[in-house]
């Protein structure tokens, strides 16, 4: 039995708002299924971000609900403390300019642990 749209939307919202860094991606950090999700993940790893990943591929509704919430049409989507940072291009650009590091330092402090975990929405 699939969940109603609003329940899924609530789950997504909860992740975005409560996780320090959330990444909605195609695949998982262990098995990335898209070059752009890979680019975003690499940049986050390079700055030692604690990554909470959500795979959007198991259910098209995840992507639908996510984009309705964020107003962002593409995947991946990276959030730091509830704020949409952008997709792969922006995250890459902010990484190259040093701003990604600065944003994370400001939001999470410099003593952060670079953990990775995957949340499965079902």
């Amino acid at each position: 039995m699939s969940q109603s749209m609003s329940q899924l939307g609530e789950q997504i919202k909860e992740i975005i708002e409560s996780e320090p860094v959330s990444v909605f991606m195609k695949g998982t950090p262990q098995l990335v299924m898209c070059g752009n999700s890979d680019r975003a993940l690499r940049a986050l790893r390079a700055v030692g971000a604690p990554v909470t990943a959500v795979d959007v591929l198991p259910d098209p509704q995840i992507r639908h609900e996510l984009s309705a919430l964020s107003g962002w049409p593409t995947i991946p989507q990276v959030f730091i403390k509830g704020e949409l940072i952008g997709g792969a291009d922006i995250v890459d650009e902010l990484y190259a300019s040093g701003e990604l590091q600065a944003k994370l330092d400001e939001a999470l402090g410099t003593e952060r642990e670079s953990t990775e975990r995957t949340v499965v929405l079902a």
């Binding site: 107003g71 962002w72 949409l84 940072i85 952008g86 997709g87 291009d89 922006i90 650009e93």
Partner: protein
């Protein structure tokens, strides 16, 4: 299949002041594009806001999902 010239036309409409505007079909297959726009409309906006304007400008060609990847590079001109 989408052609680069179509995307360029939509972008020109939305960013008539663009000092740089380019659309590259990265694979030649009409589904992976790199767009580059420099416009005064981006001045003072965050990158998220800038990219949102590009998505808005290209909403019509993006609507049917035939474009699989859109890489975006934007900058203001101030």
């Amino acid at each position: 299949m989408v052609v680069a010239a179509t995307l360029e036309r939509f972008l020109r409409n939305s960013f008539p002041d663009a000092s740089a505007l380019a659309v590259e079909d990265r694979t030649g297959g009409g589904d992976h594009f790199q767009v580059t726009v420099a416009s005064g409309r981006f001045d003072g906006l965050t990158l998220v806001e800038q990219h949102r304007l590009v998505y808005e400008a290209l909403a019509e060609p993006l609507a049917d999902g035939s474009i699989h990847e859109l890489r975006i590079k934007t900058r203001g001109i101030a």
